[in-house]
């Protein structure tokens, strides 16, 4: 997912974690890099500004309409039952 040669080794590491469209949580990036969450947040925000990564806001049940929230819950439920 890296474009060009700019960016430090942190950028490279994060880009590799997200390679091939894999979605990673900020918490997971921070844990794997052994960085405080706040630091990881800043690095990822910089990368997003440069277009190196896409940031997806988590789906929030608070923001969703009832129909969307219910559909999401049903997907989670059937997914858990399949595990």
């Amino acid at each position: 997912m890296m474009r060009g040669g700019q960016g430090g080794s942190e950028h490279q590491y994060i880009a590799e974690m997200c390679d091939g469209g894999r979605v990673q949580s900020l918490a997971e990036i921070a844990a794997r890099m052994q960085l405080p969450l706040g630091v990881a947040r800043v690095i990822v925000a910089d990368m997003a500004t440069d277009g190196l990564v896409a940031v997806y806001e988590p789906t929030s049940l608070d923001d969703e309409t009832d129909a969307v929230g219910t559909e999401l819950l049903e997907r989670v439920l059937s997914g858990l039952r399949r595990l």
Partner: protein, 195 residues
């Protein structure tokens, strides 16, 4: 934002795992997560928190807060995250961010130390986040039955109280299923009869 996953929008959902120190939060996350539970640390500047010893000086102090999390890929486009809350109650200000947008919470209970979970229950009641009580049966032993626990915790009769063995994947899975079923039931009831 040119690097979108090919399968369209990926969504995530989260469930919060709470309970007292040593009640088995990390174990529960680990038994069902597809990754080894990771610990992330947030460095907090704790000036004004007022609990830590401040005699070292008037300056700000930093404290490290650890929280565990795990991941379950529900399907290609949906990831469920499990977040264990920091055990130390003085870090509760972090919980606001943790619970935002969460499906609900599992409050883990050790019946030998029931009071450890009171604060978590108060917090979720206050935030109106649906939760259930999961009695972690250490060594397969359950020292109190569900009704005793319900009475002792003075929780509403519709809050599910389940028993589990946090080490067991199937058992943990069933706890999560019970929580999501409960949240769905609450939403449907609300839709039928708006308060």
């Amino acid at each position: 934002m040119s690097h979108r996953p090919s399968a369209g929008r990926v969504t995530s959902a989260k469930i919060v795992i709470a309970g007292g120190f040593g009640v088995g939060k990390t174990t529960l996350v680990g038994s069902v997560s597809e990754i080894t539970p990771l610990t992330t640390e947030a460095i907090m500047t704790s000036a004004g928190v007022g609990v830590d010893d401040n005699r070292q000086g008037p300056g700000k102090m930093t404290t490290t807060v650890a929280m565990d999390f795990g991941r379950i890929s529900i399907d290609r486009d949906l990831i469920l995250y499990l977040f264990g809350t920091p055990g130390q109650t003085r870090f509760w200000f972090m919980w606001d961010e943790l619970v935002r947008g969460a499906i609900g919470a599992v409050v883990m209970v050790d019946t030998r130390r029931l009071a450890d979970c009171f604060a978590a229950i108060d917090f979720f009641e206050h935030r109106r986040l649906p939760y259930l009580i999961a009695i972690n049966c250490f060594d397969g032993m359950q020292y109190h039955n569900a009704q005793d626990v319900r009475d002792a915790l003075a929780i509403s009769s519709d809050v599910p109280v389940v028993s589990c063995d946090a080490r067991n994947r199937e058992s943990t899975k069933n706890v999560l299923i019970s929580l999501v079923e409960y949240v769905l039931t609450m939403r449907r009831t609300r839709a039928v009869a708006p308060a």
